[in-house]
């Protein structure tokens, strides 16, 4: 009888909180968008499912041993944890936060106490620590993306790098917006959080996750969800902005055929880029270093088996764990906050401003240089590879059925990847250093 009762009291139904219920619906919505509406399913399926797992009451899959110990709140364990992290309170709610604020050594001590008391890390917590806490997963994804990227169009027309630069204005404008909202008292974002939110405007999932894991891990769930959702929405977000800022004549501009790029150029480019990073912005080295490494493996042509693995088995394995790990951050007390609404709002603003800046930059370039640039490719500078380039192409064809902009738009598109990684490096340098 006692056991029956314990089974019932340990069941999810008995323990389900309103927050968890809400989060479960949100995760089901994410799965719906991913599976039925094809919203970046590679990430949103694992993220959504990870979110479901993280919100199973009492399972504690997203909690560390110490967090579980605090959740179950046996007085003697609470006391031991309080002693281990050298605080005076044994209130569970207070300890929940304090255990993370006393530095890594104190946290390790609390973990040891909890493990001695029989608690273990939840599965998703372990995934998160290994995949994101160590920053390794986004870096490996970036390596794989590098191995899939063709810099040919960029090398044929390096000026499109300016479009990739301009589109990063979305990032920094959003940072300003976020601190502005905090200054006005609407939200309560720190500068670090504002920076992590801004990077959503970079339209690059792994970059967003990498920056958020370093500067604002508490917002990582919302930032990743916003980032991938808006990337999926690029075909809806960008066209109105592109139309508003261009005249029909501009949209019909035909661009000169891209020159052929030699193999040697393609091999040397990732090395040049890395050296430039090394000289100017060491803080972007992990991100751009792995990106260049992946690209060099591809372009060198002598390590095809490594390049294939980086593009397939390895990136797929990492994507599974990255997604589940991000999902572990979709727990009610972290996600169901006003901040998440702010992040969603700021994220779409960031996309919009980035798109606009790219288009306007293309118009400026048209004023300054003689080779014509169709401003529709400017919007591809936000990255969201290759969706944004495809959008440019589609709009171009609408106004001039012989004007294939796809390859032209791939230049700013990959430039946008570099641009937001550089922006990420600046922010880490500025705020994390």
């Amino acid at each position: 009888m006692e056991q029956l009762l314990s089974l019932w009291q340990g069941s999810g139904l008995y323990n389900m909180g309103l927050g968890q219920l809400t989060m479960i619906f949100i995760c089901l919505l994410l799965l719906y968008l991913a599976i039925v509406k094809n919203f970046e399913p590679l990430l949103l399926v694992p993220i959504g499912f990870g979110g479901l797992l993280a919100n199973i009451p009492e399972a504690g899959l997203a909690l560390s041993a110490a967090e579980q110990a605090i959740h179950f709140a046996k007085p003697e364990v609470l006391a031991a944890i309080a002693q281990a992290i050298d605080v005076n309170t044994t209130d569970p709610e207070a300890l929940k936060h304090l255990v993370h604020e006393q530095g890594p050594s104190a946290y390790a001590a609390a973990q040891a106490v909890a493990q001695d008391a029989g608690y273990t890390n939840g599965m998703l917590y372990s995934f998160y620590s290994v995949a994101i806490g160590s920053t390794i997963a986004p870096l490996l994804i970036f390596m794989g993306v590098g191995a899939m990227t063709d810099f040919g169009p960029l090398l044929a027309n390096p000026k499109t790098l300016f479009l990739g630069a301009a589109a990063q204005f979305g990032i920094f404008a959003t940072v300003l917006g976020a601190v502005g909202m905090s200054a006005l008292g609407i939200m309560d974002f720190s500068v670090e959080q504002a920076a992590a939110i801004g990077i959503i405007g970079g339209a690059d999932g792994p970059t967003s996750i990498y920056v958020a894991s370093l500067l604002a891990p508490e917002l990582l769930g919302a930032i990743a969800v916003a980032s991938y959702s808006y990337m999926a929405l690029v075909p809806l977000i960008q066209p109105p902005i592109m139309r508003a800022l261009t005249t029909p004549e501009e949209r019909k501009i035909q661009m000169v055929q891209l020159r052929t790029v030699s193999k040697a150029e393609k091999v040397i480019f990732p090395i040049s880029l890395l050296i430039l990073v090394a000289l100017l912005l060491p803080d972007a080295a992990p991100l751009l270093g792995m990106f260049c490494f992946g690209n060099l493996m591809k372009e060198s042509g002598v390590v095809d088996r490594l390049s294939d693995t980086a593009q397939n088995a390895l990136i797929n394995i990492v994507t599974i764990f990255l997604g589940l790990s991000v999902g572990s951050k979709l727990v009610a007390d972290k996600f169901l906050a006003l901040e998440t609404l702010g992040i969603m709002a700021l994220g779409i603003v960031a996309f919009g401003i980035g798109t606009a800046s790219g288009v306007l930059m293309a118009k400026i370039m048209n004023k300054v240089t003689k080779t014509p640039v169709n401003p529709l490719i400017g919007s591809a500078g936000v990255s969201a590879v290759p969706m944004a380039a495809r959008v440019s192409n589609k709009l171009g064809l609408e106004y001039n059925p012989h004007n294939f902009l796809l390859m032209h738009a791939m230049g700013p598109n990959v430039a946008g990847v570099i641009g937001s990684a550089v922006a990420a490096g600046v922010m880490i340098k500025y705020l994390g250093g």
């Binding site: 390096p158 920094f172 300003l176 720190s190 052929t260 030699s262 040697a264």
Partner: protein
């Protein structure tokens, strides 16, 4: 942090950030253009020549039938496929 400080931090970050992004990508345009020009002067026509180094291309190659005899897997591994 005071809200004024917060705003000024944000403005600073925006100015430095966008500035740096532009400086960096401008330099990258320069480096890339210079690199392409140099490479294309040196390597000249046949862009496909460098393209596909013979899969084995070890100095010992040449007797291809023989190589075909070899333990296929080790061979495959070493030759970087």
């Amino acid at each position: 942090m005071h809200s004024s400080e917060l705003i000024s931090e944000g403005i600073n970050l925006m100015l430095f950030g966008m500035g740096f992004v532009f400086v960096f990508l401008t330099l990258l345009v320069a480096v890339t253009s210079f690199m392409s020009a140099t490479v294309n002067k040196l390597v000249k026509p046949a862009p496909e020549a460098t393209n596909k180094p013979a899969p084995v291309s070890a100095p010992a190659a040449g007797n291809d039938e023989l190589i075909a005899v070899m333990t296929a897997a080790v061979h495959k591994y070493r030759s970087g496929k």
